[in-house]
């Protein structure tokens, strides 16, 4: 079935993304992993939209576009944070940023 293949791709992407977010220490890579998760979600949205067809496909496409826009904004903010982090600490290792430790 065509849908399953898309869903499997999305699930693989999602899992890679989650792994990257949780395991990588490089801040930029963490942001890139988040992009992977978001893209996995977009693939799901488009896949379900195409499956349902009609107006749902249009709504899914609009939703996907919004997610892409928000992801772009999110990456902008994230990269700005990483940049400030590097300036202050000469490092982009997210495990060093633990000022909130209890």
């Amino acid at each position: 079935m065509l849908l399953n293949q898309f869903l499997i791709l999305a699930a693989v992407l999602f899992c890679i993304g989650v792994y990257g977010v949780l395991a990588r220490r490089n801040g930029v890579l963490v942001l890139m992993s988040i992009e992977l998760i978001l893209n996995a979600v977009i693939i799901n949205l488009i896949a379900f939209g195409a499956m349902l067809g009609g107006e749902s496909a249009v709504v899914a496409s609009v939703f996907a576009l919004f997610v892409i826009a928000v992801a772009a904004a999110e990456v902008g903010v994230g990269l700005a944070i990483v940049l400030m982090l590097y300036r202050n600490r000469q490092s982009i290792d997210v495990s060093d940023v633990d000022l909130m430790r209890g």
């Binding site: 989650v18 949780l22 963490v30 997210v94 495990s95 633990d98 430790r101 209890g102």
Partner: protein, 684 residues
């Protein structure tokens, strides 16, 4: 006026309040109110007495003109052969209680008329004297207020027509004497003396209260003096009741009139200012007891069976007092104490006179004694005013040249007291002795004669130590001002002439006519004047004076006997310690009561009260400890500490999750979402 005698005590009573409230703002600090009020009372008393005399004369004339006044009830009761002069009684209802009507009122007869004249006269002179004597005193105004109240109370007492009102006056007199004896209360001995006077007379007052209660029920539920007297004479009251009542009343008299054995307060009462001593000893306070006996004479007459002769308690008390007080007067160095013991002795004469049935003589002695004893006290005050001391041995002597007026009047008073013809004391004392002899009390006649000789001797000693020999004090004594010597001369004049009111051998018996009650009165004897007795009495008095004069003026006799002879020394020690009566009272009686009572109270306190208190204390302490241990420490603190510890431990556990690492948070977030998602899938 006879109906309106209630005004007489009212005037000084009002004066008391006036002096108390406005006296301090007046130019003479209130003294003028007192003098004017008592002066007014004196005038009213004299008018009353004059009207009473007029009344007796009229009654007597009526009898002489129109035969016997058989119609009078009193004449039948008393068996009198002469005119009956009914007393003037006026009453108002005081209060009612359960059908019992208690009346207040005045009873005016010869006795009360005589008493109000004596009281107001002496009090007036004492007031005048005090204006000068007490000048500059720290409580001048209060002194005069108390004097006014003292006078008012005594007048209330002597004018009472019932025993309840008499008791009120009696206690008021006691209160005033307490205030005045303790006038200078800042010094401890003075307040002690005032307390002693109050408590000692109060001991006797218990008897008075019981006696009044006994009479009230015995005489048919009445306090009225005339009714009581009639009941006592009429035989309506049993002998036993009368004996009990008379004995109880006698106890009150013993306390108030300073009779043996309760006389010890009187010498101590000298702590008060001298005018007060004069007033207490002459007119008020101590004669109240004698007055009570004279007033209720039928009760005593029947109760003690005085007509029987021989011996009775009242005569015995009086006789003992006459001698022991006279002997004590010999060892006193304080001039006022000599006079105090002399007063006790003379009061003994009065009580003895009443005890032996010589009513007129005893009351007459009260009358004359008031003048010469007031004179002697005021004289001693004048002396102390000059030398600033009362000690005859260390501060007086040779004063006759410095103080001629005081010396002469004091000498007159002493001679009158010693009973030298024709001064006042001779007549009254002689009548008492005469009555004792005629009524079958020969032993008491002898006692009286011995007392007379002793009186003459100790007064000689007193006069010698004060006015003769070398002056032993310091400074320059001077005669007192006219305001002090004036009253002295007035009293000296009275001490000379007062006796002639009842000079029986000259056919004068005015005092008997005027004063002796003819209504509800026992048939007392009126013995004929006896020349041999009078001669013996006078000779004994002269012998007393001679012995004293020989001893002191001529230096005869065994001087220094107390140093050489052991028995004389022991006797002197006994007298010096006043027969150890004070030791008996304060040491033995009070001590023996005080000791066990104090120990018992201590035991109760230590064992019972302290036990209860301690048990309560220990119990509550243990209860508190238990509450502290079990409830506070465990429950309350447990909850508080437990919640704190729980919060702390939870926080300690939770804080490990707060690593500050974004990826940990992300992992948790993801894990939790996965679990939630899984749950959702499984459940749905």
């Amino acid at each position: 006026m006879l109906e309106q005698v209630w005004v007489i005590p009212l005037v000084p009573a009002i004066s008391f309040f006036l002096i108390l409230f406005v006296g301090k703002h007046l130019p003479r600090k209130g003294a003028e109110i007192g003098v004017v009020a008592v002066g007014a009372s004196l005038v009213l008393s004299l008018v009353t007495a004059a009207q009473w005399i007029h009344r007796t004369n009229e009654a007597r004339d009526a009898v002489d003109g129109g035969g016997h006044a058989a119609g009078f009830l009193g004449a039948v009761l008393a068996g009198a052969e002469y005119a009956v002069v009914e007393p003037v009684v006026r009453t108002v209802t005081w209060w009612q209680s359960g059908g019992e009507v208690i009346e207040a009122g005045t009873l005016l007869d010869g006795l009360s008329a005589m008493m109000i004249v004596v009281v107001t006269l002496v009090s007036f002179l004492v007031h005048l004297y005090s204006v000068s004597y007490m000048e500059g005193d720290r409580r001048f105004t209060h002194f005069f207020a108390a004097l006014s109240l003292f006078t008012a109370s005594m007048l209330l007492l002597v004018l009472s027509n019932n025993l309840l009102q008499l008791l009120v006056g009696w206690e008021l007199v006691g209160l005033c004497s307490f205030m005045l004896i303790g006038h200078w209360w800042e010094e401890k001995p003075n307040s002690d003396a005032a307390l002693k006077a109050f408590l000692t007379t109060r001991t006797g007052d218990i008897g008075l209260l019981v006696g009044i209660a006994v009479i009230f029920f015995g005489a048919g539920r009445t306090f009225d003096i005339l009714e009581i007297n009639q009941a006592a004479l009429g035989g309506g009251v049993s002998d036993l009741v009368l004996l009990v009542a008379a004995s109880c009343l006698l106890l009150g008299v013993i306390g108030k009139s300073g009779q043996f054995p309760l006389h010890t307060w009187l010498p101590d009462a000298m702590a008060g200012p001298t005018p007060v001593s004069a007033l207490i000893h002459a007119a008020t306070m101590v004669v109240a007891g004698v007055f009570l006996v004279a007033r209720l004479y039928p009760v005593f007459w029947e109760g003690f069976d005085i007509a029987a002769g021989g011996l009775n308690p009242m005569a015995l008390v009086g006789g003992i007092t006459v001698v022991i007080a006279a002997v004590l007067a010999f060892v006193q160095n304080d001039i006022k104490k000599v006079l105090a013991y002399s007063t006790i002795s003379q009061l003994g004469y009065m009580v003895m006179g009443l005890g032996v049935g010589a009513w007129v003589a005893a009351v007459f002695h009260l009358f004359t004694h008031a003048f010469f004893k007031a004179l002697l006290f005021l004289g001693s005050g004048s002396v102390s005013h000059a030398v600033h001391s009362f000690d005859m041995k260390s501060d007086m002597g040779g004063l006759r040249e410095h103080m001629p007026h005081t010396y002469r009047t004091f000498l007159i008073g002493s001679l009158a007291l010693a009973g030298i013809f024709p001064l006042a004391g001779f007549w009254s004392k002689d009548e008492i002795l005469l009555g004792a002899g005629a009524n079958g009390y020969e032993a008491f006649m002898v006692v009286g004669l011995i007392g007379g000789a002793l009186t003459a001797a100790y007064m000689t000693r007193c006069v010698y130590l004060t006015f003769f020999g070398e002056y032993r004090g310091h400074g320059h004594p001077h005669e007192s001002p006219a305001l002090i010597t004036g009253p002295l001369w007035v009293l000296a004049g009275l001490a000379v002439v007062a006796g002639f009111l009842n000079a029986v051998p000259f056919g004068i018996h005015l005092f008997t006519d005027w004063v002796e009650p003819t209504f509800a009165f026992p048939p007392v004897a009126h013995p004929e004047f006896s020349v041999p007795l009078a001669v013996v009495a006078t000779l004994l008095a002269l012998a007393g004076i001679g012995a004293g004069a020989g001893y002191y003026f001529r230096n005869l006799g065994p001087h220094g006997l107390t140093e050489r002879n052991v028995w004389a020394r022991r006797g002197h020690t006994l007298l010096w310690n006043r027969y150890y009566l004070d030791h008996l009272y304060t040491g033995v009686i009070v001590g023996s009561i005080k000791g066990p009572v104090a120990r018992a109270a201590n035991w109760v306190n230590q064992r019972v009260i302290d036990g209860v208190v301690n048990a309560a204390g220990v119990g509550s302490r243990q209860a508190g400890q238990w509450v502290y241990d079990k409830i506070d420490q465990r429950v309350v603190d447990g909850i508080v500490n437990g919640s704190a510890t729980g919060a702390g431990e939870t926080g300690g556990f939770l804080r490990r999750m707060q690593t500050g690492r974004v990826q940990n948070y992300g992992a948790l977030l993801f894990g939790a979402t996965a679990v939630l998602g899984l749950t959702l899938v499984i459940l749905i």
